[in-house]
């Protein structure tokens, strides 16, 4: 059914640079089908939040086009704003106002009023388990309660497209699981399209029907979580070496490893070697044998089902944790809290 309708979000070749030559987006393409949950996955500084800011009319791209709910974000930002709900990283509920007051004001900004507004506010307070706290100032809320209020604020006018920018960052594990359940329930709402950004691989895997992996301001690969993981056939065998290899050693070892039966690929990343094999456990002895004959010391070896982290390594050419660290460093270099 979704294929017969126009996409809820369509962004083409978005480019955005910030002062000081910081490239946030370098040709970002995103298409989200109506009624689906789409995850933008990437480390800090990859360009996820900038993409959301452009799609929600907050920031303007240097070039490129985007439509949301059928409206051009540059030409008709007012129409886009009526159609979307936004839950930013800091949604800024008024700390002095109560949960109910925050929701009422938000509703009024969309033109809701009177009994209709009150009914909608009660409904959301119930749904997000905030009814008991409704008359207390938000500054006394826990992190999880605040985040649930943020999501409720984004839904008050029944938007067509909901943007969730890192919905669980900073939440404790219990509150995170509760938020996941809530988002999964939202996804069942008729016709609601959700675009969520996250830097948790697990979160994207669990919530999104389609995922785009973002690195250095553009999408490096896109697909369903299963398809992305399925592309990495078989198991992942991770071997930790005692010391990193030189280029010559890598080439040599690469040939020897991929020559083994049932082994498809070997990726080198510092002291770490990741090998893809049809049956990881069966390939392990031969694999260790190759390493031993080559005189390479092994510190540890594990067999795992492929994770999104492996997908990330394959397409972004580096481990997720490294990209995270580099992203954080770039943010500091750019002097930028954005």
């Amino acid at each position: 059914m979704s294929s017969t309708r126009a996409p809820a979000v369509e962004a083409r070749q978005l480019i955005k640079t910030y002062p000081g030559d910081v490239t946030a987006l370098s040709g970002m393409d995103v298409t989200v089908e109506t009624g689906t949950v789409f995850g933008l996955l990437g480390p800090n500084g990859a360009g996820k939040s900038t993409t959301v800011k452009i799609l929600t009319t907050l920031a303007r791209p240097d070039s490129g086009t985007a439509t949301v709910a059928g409206h051009d974000v540059l030409r008709h930002p007012d129409r886009v704003r009526r159609a979307i709900g936004v839950v930013a990283q800091n949604s800024g509920a008024d700390p002095v106002a109560t949960g109910r007051e925050n929701l009422q004001l938000q509703g009024r900004l969309y033109g809701l009023k009177g009994a209709g507004l009150n009914r909608r506010v009660d409904e959301l307070l119930d749904r997000f388990k905030l009814a008991d706290a409704a008359r207390r100032p938000v500054k006394g809320y826990s992190g999880g309660m605040r985040r649930r209020l943020d999501v409720a604020l984004g839904l008050v006018h029944r938007p067509e497209v909901l943007f969730l920018d890192e919905p669980t960052t900073g939440l404790d594990p219990e509150a995170r699981t509760a938020m996941w359940d809530e988002i999964a329930r939202l996804a069942g709402d008729e016709g609601l399209t959700i675009l969520l950004t996250t830097h948790y691989l697990e979160e994207a895997d669990r919530l999104a029907e389609r995922i785009a992996i973002v690195d250095r301001g553009r999408v490096v690969v896109e697909g369903t979580p299963d398809a992305l993981k399925g592309e990495l056939r078989g198991d992942a065998v991770h071997v930790e070496l005692r010391e990193a290899l030189g280029d010559a050693g890598r080439t040599l070892l690469n040939g020897a490893l991929t020559g083994l039966p049932g082994v498809h690929e070997a990726l080198f990343d510092g002291r770490r070697v990741s090998v893809r094999a049809d049956d990881g456990a069966a390939a392990m002895p031969a694999l260790l044998g190759v390493l031993e004959r080559a005189g390479v010391g092994v510190a540890a070896a594990t067999v795992a089902r492929p994770s999104l982290d492996d997908v990330y390594l394959r397409y972004a050419g580096r481990r997720y944790a490294e990209a995270e660290a580099e992203g954080a460093e770039n943010l500091v270099l750019a002097g930028g809290v954005r």
Binding site: L58, A59, R60, R81, G92, V96, A97
Partner: protein
Amino acid sequence: MSAAVSQTWYMTQRQLMVFARQPAYAIITLIQPVIWLFLFGNLFKKVVELGGFGTTSYLDYLVPGVVVMSALSSNMWAGMGTLDEIQRGTLDRFLTTPVSRAALMNGNVVNNGLITALQSVIIVLLGLLGGADYPGGIGGVAILIVASVLLGTIFGALSNALGMLVRERESIIGINTFLLLPLTFLSSAFMAPSQMPGWMRHIADFNPLNWAMVAGRSAMSEHPDWGVVLGRSGALLALAVAAVWLSIRTFRSYQRSV
């Protein structure tokens, strides 16, 4: 149009609530002028003997001075509130709703105007209690209050624009500390114009704070010079409109930078 008006009201309400629910902040804003009134009233009591003040009681002369100075000093911090809202994410949340940009800024303006008016009324009443005399009556006092609200609007809007542009508390603190006393003392707030050095009097002619001062004092005198009152108030109004317009424009440059 009616949507813009009701949105402005929602935004005003929201800010008034913050003011009302933070009693410590509200009380300090309202009490600080009282301290000025008391300190300056006692410190400069005898300068009235120099002549040129148009009264024999320094308190008569001082009340409009403190009203105008307080309007300036409380409004020039408006940008700090805007900065808080930016950092908390509140401004971004509003900017992604259909609310009009003018309503966002005008909510600030109306809220600050109401607080300035309340603050001014308290100072005038306290002056009355201390024995000050207002020959221009209620009408004169009303014009003083309108002039201070306009002055407050100018500096409140500029402070908001600055907050959105530089996004640093330090800049706002620096500029405010730098401006408050020079603007106050380069005016007839505490000293009769005839007692001021000539060059200071000339600079004061270009000081919006002095415009509010001159308009308010003239309206409160026994024989107001309506030409002066209207001229200075008109200039304040024009500047206020320009400053608010500028601050609404600043949203665009803010949106370019996020």
